[in-house]
Amino acid sequence: MIPIPDKPDTVYFFGTCLIDLFYPEAGLAGIDLLQRQGIRVVYPQGQSCCAQPARNCGFAEDARAVARNQLRHFPKPWPIVVPSGSCAGMMREHYPELFAGEPDEAEARAFADRVFELTWFLVHVCKIAVHDQGAPVRVTFHGSCHSQREMGVRDEPKQLLRDLSNVTFVELARPAECCGFGGTFSVRLPEVSGAMVADKVADIAETGAAEVLSGDCGCLLNISGAMAKNGSPVRARHIAEFLKERCYGK
């Protein structure tokens, strides 16, 4: 269990490389939600990627070089809030082992302890109160494997959705099952990955939801791509974007 820190005055925002390339509006929404909780948000310009792709492929040295860049650019002792359970899991769970025996191991450990997933941080640290201003809608939520298993984010995002008065939240039949993304897995074993995402898309369709939300852009890229290929009308987006729109408008 991750210890809950006191609400800080300032946090760092780690935007993630997928948000940079594909979902910048999710990053902006995450920053906005934090700011509306009375927190100053600092976005270090030197940040890049958590280094998970190389680490997961067994390229630890290349991963360390990229991870080291993050260690350098978040120097103050502020919490580092991440709009992705997977990137957060990489930094919190795997940096300590990635840097084991390295000269900057202690720095990596201290960095890891400051990493938090966005929805978890909004719920437990900011104690966010959501006030729904949107039209009635039915939604479902896909929690990423790493947000659930590495960051312990289980009910937090779903509770936020349930708290929205005009939103009907419907749970997936298999909320803990992988969507088949897995980073390079999706292109190394496209058929297996394809079978997994097809099942996820069917599960989403079963809920009758108009939107599927997630806290992770890797899963979103995978699920939305598969739904679009099938001509599914279900919209997929980051939960931060959805929450911001429901509570504060576009």
Partner: protein, 486 residues
């Protein structure tokens, strides 16, 4: 009927790589349905056995500690096991390789003039391909576990370590029995099918010259072999024939008798969702003077087959903590979709993905660690906390990099200069802030013009649309929105 069987067997691909074998398996809708249904059932049953998260956490910690403590003292515990077993009248044999184990077992059987050996379920006997070896020496091995009996009739291999014929439906078994067992009328009534197997096997039990079994745990302090099962075939195999041979991987030793109950609690609940199996056998030697039953001779064959090498690496040693419950495969989203045969290995699923490359080497099994989305479901349910996802990552590295200090079999066998170069390029872009900002700018400007025929993109777009790059990256947007961006 025979033609149906041929079709079913034809679906099992023998392609050299996992991707190709998985591709064949995925096209078999019936197979996917069977695995999905079976794995759903096993997951539900297991979950019902661990309703209290705190109780699960503490039991798991206990089991994990027992296995770690046993492994930490493995060499001395094996010596102790050897001594105590001998004191109990169990003859102990050490086999360095699969071939050694086969020869030792065949030697014992030949010395006793054995023509037929009845077998309880043993994955180690699969690992050493014992049945084929014995057949070449005119000794017939008869599988008596119902699942193993079915796949032996079908000339197949197990697709799951606990439920070897999980890939077969009731109708598959009905057709198989009808075609393979003389005078067997077609029936898909489960009770009737079980009764048939019982009838055939009873005759084998009565006439077999020897029994062979696996071992779930061996207790060093007492020289006791523990064996769990549900059908009574294990007890019959180990008590009815005059000769019993037990074969085990040398990692299965535990320190004390009191170590066994917590491990059994974890094993049976994790495996089949049972609080206890129908039969729990503790074997501590042959029939003693004045006793009415039991074999006259008991032999224990301890198999290394690469385990000492695995033991030598403190991280990979975790692989040896496994108690073979199969929960990792029951919960694996990849295994559930492709089934056990796609792994083309004795041990399929997540545990197989870390064990097989280490035993067989990276040359033939180096692609298995990549057959995972690293979702972590396996590590989450492992009753002895083996960090399977981390070990998969470690083995991916072992396959990709040549390291003279590595003890992993076939280290570096999958090395690719192109892959090295790709990651080096990635590293340059993502470790130099200016390069990253330029790179993300460039990709958001022209990325959408990339043709879908690019190798990686082609794989991606086989089931998905092309990902749409944003107009501007977040690192640019934060500046225009006045967000603090030091």
């Amino acid at each position: 009927m025979a033609s149906n069987l041929a079709t079913a067997e034809g679906a099992v691909s023998t392609a050299p790589d996992f991707a190709a074998r998985a591709s064949v398996a995925l096209k078999d809708a019936g197979l996917r349905r069977k695995f999905r249904r079976a794995m759903d059932g096993l997951m539900t049953k297991r979950a019902a056995q661990f309703p209290d998260a705190d109780a699960w956490t503490s039991l798991r910690a206990r089991g994990s500690a027992i296995r770690r403590r046993s492994l930490a003292r493995l060499p001395e515990l094996l010596e102790q096991l050897d001594t105590r077993c001998r004191a109990n009248g169990i003859q102990v044999h050490w086999a360095e390789t699969s071939a050694d184990a086969d020869r030792i077992i065949q030697g014992i059987l030949t010395d006793h003039g054995v023509r037929t050996v009845i077998k309880g379920k043993s994955m180690v006997s699969e690992e050493i391909h014992l049945n084929d070896f014995l057949a070449r020496h005119q000794i017939s091995a008869v599988e008596s576990d119902l699942g193993e009996f079915v796949i032996q009739l079908a000339h197949e291999t197990p697709s799951h370590i606990i439920m070897p014929c999980i890939h077969k439906s009731r109708e598959d078994v009905a057709a198989l029995f009808h075609s393979q067992i003389p005078d067997q009328a077609y029936t898909d009534d489960v009770d009737a099918l079980t009764a048939t197997a019982r009838r055939v096997l009873r005759e084998q039990f009565a006439s077999a010259d020897a029994g062979l079994s696996g071992v779930n745990f061996a207790v060093a302090e007492t020289g006791t072999l523990c064996l769990v099962e549900n059908e009574g075939n294990g007890r019959l195999s180990t008590t009815l024939p005059p000769l019993h041979i037990a074969v085990m991987g040398l990692e299965k030793v535990v320190e004390r008798l009191e170590d066994v109950p917590p491990l059994l609690t974890l094993l049976t609940r994790s495996a089949t969702g049972q609080p206890i199996t129908t039969y729990v056998n503790f074997i501590s030697g042959p029939r003693r003077q004045g006793e009415q039953d039991g074999p006259h001779e008991v032999h224990l064959v301890l198999l290394d087959n690469g385990r000492t090498r695995i033991f030598g690496d403190s991280q990979l040693r975790e692989t040896l903590a496994c108690i073979r419950c199969g929960a990792c495969m029951n919960h694996c989203p990849v295994y559930t979709r492709v089934g056990g045969h796609a792994y083309d290995a004795v041990y399929p699923g997540p545990i197989g993905k870390i064990l097989t490359p280490q035993i067989n080497g990276m040359e033939t099994a180096g692609d298995l660690p990549h057959a995972s989305s690293l979702c972590g479901a396996c590590g989450e349910v492992c009753p002895v906390s083996i960090p399977i996802p981390n070990l998969l990552v470690r083995l991916r590295g072992e396959a990709a990099h040549r390291d003279p200090a590595s003890t992993v079999k076939g280290n570096g066998a999958r090395h690719s200069s192109l892959e090295d170069l790709t990651w080096r390029g990635w590293r340059l872009m993502y470790s130099i802030p200016l390069a990253y900002r330029l790179g993300t700018r460039l990709l958001t400007l022209v990325g959408n013009a990339m043709p879908a025929s690019l190798p990686m993109l082609k794989n991606w777009t086989s089931v998905r649309t092309k990902p749409q790059f944003a107009r501007q990256p977040l690192n640019v947007l934060v500046r225009s929105r006045g967000i603090d961006h030091e």
